[in-house]
């Protein structure tokens, strides 16, 4: 059985997460080996996920952690966690 590009696109995410069933995975795999457009889609998606997962994309505000712990320190003195 051969599947069309459009059907392969529906499985890109599952393919990347390796959650496809064996049969679908084999169909997609086979298609990718012969279709440069679909393999470019897969590669670009994978690459984009690597880039967006990088901590440098969103940086924490300078001093965020220090301010957070100072505030917690201050407030925890006055509130005990609710034991009820």
């Amino acid at each position: 059985m051969v599947i069309e590009c459009k059907h392969v696109w529906d499985h890109i995410s599952g393919y990347l997460d390796d959650t496809l069933d064996a049969e679908t995975r084999a169909l997609v795999q086979n298609h990718l080996e012969h279709c440069e457009i679909c393999s470019a889609i897969l590669d670009s998606t994978r690459n984009i996920l690597i880039l967006t997962a990088d901590d440098r994309v969103f940086e924490l505000p300078l001093g965020y952690s220090e301010r957070l712990h100072a505030r917690l320190e201050e407030e925890m003195k006055t509130i005990a966690p609710d034991e009820s």
Binding site: I12, R56, P81
Partner: protein, 208 residues
Amino acid sequence: MTVGADPRDEAQMIAAILAGDTSHFHTLIRPYERSVYMMALSLLKNEAEAEDVAQEAFLKAFRNLAGFRADAKFSTWLIAITLNEARSRLRRGRVVVMESLDRPPDEDGHVSPALLRDWREIPSEALERSEVRGILQEAIADLPVIYREVFLLRDVEELSVNETSEALGITVASVKVRLHRARMMLQKRLAPQLKQVSPAKRRWFPWL
């Protein structure tokens, strides 16, 4: 959400905090500082508001720690608190976020990816350029919120499908569908844009 090399027994830390040794709370939350801020930022789109909501969420977690059920994960519980805090701030109208007026595409629909023949990897050194970071930030910020939340939890904060479903209170099937759509939307927008900023010149073929 990676936890440091030393073993962390969160249940033990929580028990100690509830017994009155509150200093453990600082250690308990340290691995999640970034995720909490990121999720607040993803909804509020304003750094100062996000930081404020992050602080409030940690305080709320501290106050309600006795209500934390040991069968849940602390990280997931904390993120659910953060999202609630951010949403209630949005409802109170203190922050105005310009969401796209386009209705999010219906969940059964398809997103067609960008078709490229010659995709070349963008090396992660490209992230040293603020232009490239800006392109990625904007593309994520522009995702409709239901896709943005799932994408950030799964692909940026690296929660599992089950944890994401728990933190957002949606089914596992919805997590998968939304994640797929989010990824395809990002591919569609980013692949052509990133291709143009690619620093890779074909220097090894000087005649091209």
